[in-house]
């Protein structure tokens, strides 16, 4: 009955099933149909649905983004794929000025059902032009939905929801998650696009995480439990529209909150979480909401600096040790995610 597959395969399955169900769905973008198939996530689409419904394109992100809008308002349900969110920024004008407001500007008469998938996350020392996330900047614009699933289950369920949704949805996938395994039902199902999700229950502190940072947070929570700290990990996952209820309820219970966001801190999504929690848990908070995220620098290439650039389970553990004035936990023997073990170049 239960079946464990990777995040990559979960995405792939969601697309395959939706394309089968609904012939209006098609997939396009730079290199979606080459033999590498966007890290494997667009596997089988050309074979199953032909080059009309899955095709590689010229290197023209700006036009490709506008095309999604045109195809959507004319009755199709496009999925545009960017191998890196950094490339999506070439289509920022279309996202911010055109896609987000089309429905409003039609007086609500025309829906804009489109999905833009974009990959984020560390690779093999890619440094500063292949390492952005920017979900806060997209989420800032009303009219767009922004989601970041962190588990294979959510990847499939939320992608199906996104494809079926009648609004533009930006769907952000972390590259390291691609190899993560998790239980995923074979049949199609949907997950809500605007609800946070408790990944791990706890009572002493609420950790709100996004994307890969959930993996770090869960690991940190496991380690902390050995020191008697019971951490609740909440995957924010729906960046916009953002419903803080789950998070607020948790913090009202725990009294402490740390946000660990897979992005820069300044004017990032973490600020939004901190602002809402601080407002709505006013009086319940036993310590100020703290934020973690990328260092306030462009992403460096050199591994030792890159390791400092990104927050992780260890830096999260340290932060929480500080908060609770704990003795440093002995981390020897702990198996943290290591690049070297799981991820190789060249890309």
């Amino acid at each position: 009955m239960s079946r464990s597959i990777t995040y990559r395969d979960a995405i792939n399955e969601a697309i395959l099933q939706e394309m089968k169900r609904d012939e209006r769905v098609f997939v396009y973008g730079i290199d979606v149909a080459d033999h590498k198939r966007i890290f494997g996530s667009t596997r089988g689409l050309v074979e199953t649905f032909g080059p009309e419904r899955c095709f590689s394109t010229p290197l023209s992100e700006d036009a490709l983004t506008g095309m999604a809008l045109g195809a959507a308002v004319n009755g199709l349900r496009p999925i545009l794929v960017h191998m890196r969110v950094d490339f999506m920024l070439l289509g920022m004008n279309q996202i911010a000025n055109m896609i987000s407001s089309f429905r409003y500007g039609s007086g609500g008469l025309v829906n804009v059902p489109l999905v833009i998938r974009a990959v984020i996350g560390r690779g093999w020392g890619q440094s500063y032009q292949h390492s952005k996330t920017m979900h806060a900047s997209f989420a800032h614009i009303p009219g767009i939905k922004v989601v970041m699933p962190a588990t294979p289950y959510d990847a499939k369920g939320m992608l199906i929801s996104a494809i079926r949704d009648d609004n533009p949805v930006i769907f952000i996938e972390h590259r390291w998650l691609y190899d993560a395994y998790g239980e995923v039902p074979e049949e199609p199902y949907t997950e809500p696009l605007s609800q946070a999700k408790v990944l791990r229950s706890g009572k002493d502190i609420t950790i709100v995480a996004t994307s890969w940072m959930n993996v770090e947070a869960v690991k940190a929570a496991e380690v902390l439990s050995k020191a008697g700290i019971s951490a609740e990990v909440i995957d924010a996952r729906s960046i916009s529209p953002f419903d803080e209820t789950v998070i607020v309820d948790s913090v009202k219970k725990t009294g402490h909150c740390i946000v660990i966001d897979d992005d820069w801190i300044h004017c990032g999504f973490g600020a939004e979480v901190a602002a809402r929690v601080s407002e709505q848990c006013f009086g319940n908070l036993k310590s100020p909401v703290e934020r973690m995220g990328y260092a306030a620098t462009p992403c460096p290439c050199a591994r030792p600096l890159e390791n400092l650039f990104y927050p992780n389970a260890v830096s999260l553990i340290k932060k929480i040790e500080n908060k609770f004035d704990l003795e440093p936990i002995d981390l020897t023997g702990e198996d943290f995610y290591s690049y070297e073990k799981k991820f190789r170049g060249p890309f």
Binding site: F26, E52, T57, P58, S60, D62, A63, L64, T65, G66, M67, A68, L69, G70, A71, A72, V73, N74, G75, L76, P78, N93, Q94, N97, M98, F102, R103, Y104, G105, S106, G107, G108, L109, V110, N111, V112, P113, P142, G143, K145, D165, D166, N167, P241
Partner: protein, 323 residues
Amino acid sequence: MSKIDRKELNLHLYKHLYLVRNAEEAIRKHYHEDEMKTPVHLSIGSEAISVGVCQAMQPQDQALATFRNHAVYLTKTGETDRFFAELYGKSTGVAKGKSGSMHLSAMDNGMICATAIVASGIPVAVGAALANKMQKNGKVVAVFFGDGATEEGVFWESLNIACLMKLPILFVCEDNELAVHAPNEVRKGYRSLTAIARQYRCHVFSDDTTDVEAIYHLTQEALYQMAETEMPCLIDLKYYRYLEHVGVNEDFNAGYRSRADYERWLKQDPVIIQREKLLSLGCSESEIRELERLIDGQIESSLAYAKSAPFPEPNQLHEDVYA
């Protein structure tokens, strides 16, 4: 084409020209009242382009325009009630007053949208054409843009993709050789847009006529060739913008262009020459007057309707953002 047919065609085209011209003249007349609180970019002088192109297409064919979109909107829809109401920001407007003059959309009439960000509608039109092709519905999309829009990279991306994918799309450059007040000399590193476009896998036409019938036939030829070859087409059509870039006034005193040019073009005013043609084709003055009176009446009544219509309710602010 027989003489009767030609007369009918030209009457039909004149009706549209007259509607567009006079709807905009009505805007000019009322704009100073400060009730139309939306920036207007008038099409006066260019009417033959939108009317000629759109009327040569099938009603179910689609158009996409710029901030200077009234002419395309009016000729695609033929209606003025929702049009004026939109300019007055009223709840009976095309977009319930939310979009204003610069972004008119009327999907049911094939008017996909208009956009106030230069060139940003072009790839949207390409996507719309792709959808039409995938759905094999036979619809053609005409995307209107100014000469200034061809300086935006996305125009070239879009042209390339349309040609590559053999999409049923007509690129129509409404070429007034001005972007706001900037002439070609400060904007173009090449001699001719059409010469470049000819290097792409598409058909290319150009003309500087103000004769709506000529543009109508040129478009029909373009559509015929597109259908025959499954290739897109680019048409560059010159015209003269009579008024200031945005607003309802003349601006020949601003110093960036001369009244003499205007007067030369005025001799070929698309509405006037079409009216003269009708007379020469045997229409009577009174027949024409009757038609004009009807349209005048339509505009008057739409204006009155717009003025008296209610503003959107406060709750409308938050409606229509998401489906």
